[in-house]
Amino acid sequence: RDAFFEFLLRIGDTTLILGHRDSEWCGHSPVLEEDIALANMALDLIGQTQLWLGLAAEVEGKGRTADDLAYLRDAWDFRNLLLVERPNGDFGHTLMRHFLFDIYHLALLQALATSSDRRVAEIAAKVGREVAYHVERTSNLIVRLGDGTDESHRRMQVALDALWPYVGEMFIADEKDEAVAAVGIAPNSASLRAAWEKTVRDVLAEATLTVPESKFAHKGGKRGIHTEHLGYILADMQFLQRAYPGASW
């Protein structure tokens, strides 16, 4: 059960933090259609967070709610991937981060749709459609920006190089990943890598971008060892719940 709870935090915290980063763009995107699209992705991700953290709270069985988990844990108890807490950078950087995650996210959900836990399977089936749309959108934009102007190509390559060391963490399984994989709740993380690589490399090739050679992978997010950025995210996110404990909103 502990591993199951951890697994749900890893996915729920990841959607929460990525949704947060997306939402930072509200009103500041390069073009109106993107303001709408990014707000839409943020909205999907926050909705997914409610489901995953809601289930996490249920599995934990200590009477906590999804909101308690989102608003009353400090950084070290967060289990999101480091990738999603990286700062937004320019709009291309944000899209690259999204793209690298989206491809993984969809593959994960597709595998979870056959989870041995019915609740997990239901959520995965339900939100898979949303994420399929994210994949379509971000892949498309990566191609257009990679193969756009020299300037856009340069920016996308910089983003790819900067974010690449953060993709490995998605596929590195620890004993908790293995525990949930063993009982069929979730796929083995490593098993998702090959398909991910293929899709990502195809899109990046079409985008005329060069995949970095380094295999180095930052990790720690899944164990609660984050970058310095997460603390600032939480200081804002949790301010009201912390400053006015017990209030109902």
Binding site: L16, H20, S23, E24, C26, G27, H28, S29, P30, V31, L32, E33, E34, D35, I36, A39, N40, A42, L43, I46, G47, T49, Q50, L53, A66, D67, A70, Y71, D90, F91, G92, V143, R144, L145, D147, G148, T149, E151, S152, R155, I233, D236, M237, F239, L240, Q241, Y244, G246, A247, S248, W249
Partner: protein, 314 residues
Amino acid sequence: MTPEEIAFQARIDRGEKIEPKEWMPEGYRKTLIRQIGQHGHSEIVGQLPEANWITRAPTLERKAILLAKVQDEAGHGLYLYCAAETLGISRDELVERLHSGNMKYSSIFNYPTLTWADMGAVGWLVDGAAIMNQVPLQRTSFGPYSRAMIRICKEESFHRRQGYAIMMKMAAGTFEQKRMAQDALNRLWYPALMMFGPSDKDSVHSAQSMAWKIKMNTNDELRQKFVDQTVPQAQLIGLTVPDPNLKWNEEKGGYDFSEPDWNEFYDVLAGNGPCNKDRLGARVKAWEDGAWFREAMVAHADKKAARQYAVATE
């Protein structure tokens, strides 16, 4: 009036809709471009005060609702820019006029959102006042504008209800929450009243706009209606409208109330509102920082078209 103008006015008087490709007086076109453009700008700039609290929304549910609302506003901006484009102005030109200060946006968005209760008050008061302005515009004479208004009004009234729901929750909450709710009402009441524009006696250009059915009611009519609708809502949840002169007037069947401080109104209009520079600055920055992105989209489309052409002519 020329015969064309007479015929045009007759169509409007009969309640016909004017469509983009049809003849219209230059003044009608210009007035509409300005009005629809400014309305669109208000939606766009209006994202900012609420976006300010998305990252700090107190629950996941509230965060989702607020995100959806801000997204709707961007959508409204899009409809309105499209409606304006049918009049022969491009979106880039509209944006350029906003950024150069040549076109305005609603002054209400030059006030800051300082507590979470402002998310309630903005929905309740600001969207409330906007709807009051917009409902009659569903019957405006210009077809695309009218249709945009119908769609927008439906969503806005949903926003108003959500805003009121936040206020209700806060007003029924802890001591601090009540204080926040009252404080938000205190700060936003008069700016909301200003949203209807200056008093009729000081309002220019109104007569022509009303004849053209671009403007459907006078400023004071709408303001009165807003006050009459909003005061009981405030009372219902135990909040006090910050106006010592507020009093039910049996005779006119409406409230007597204090005028907002019109000097402040003109100050804000002149660029001296608490947030004018921050708001416009944020929009200009977004636009400039995003130039490379927009250019890349065009460049990619051109490349793709060229490739398709090359294939087609092989």
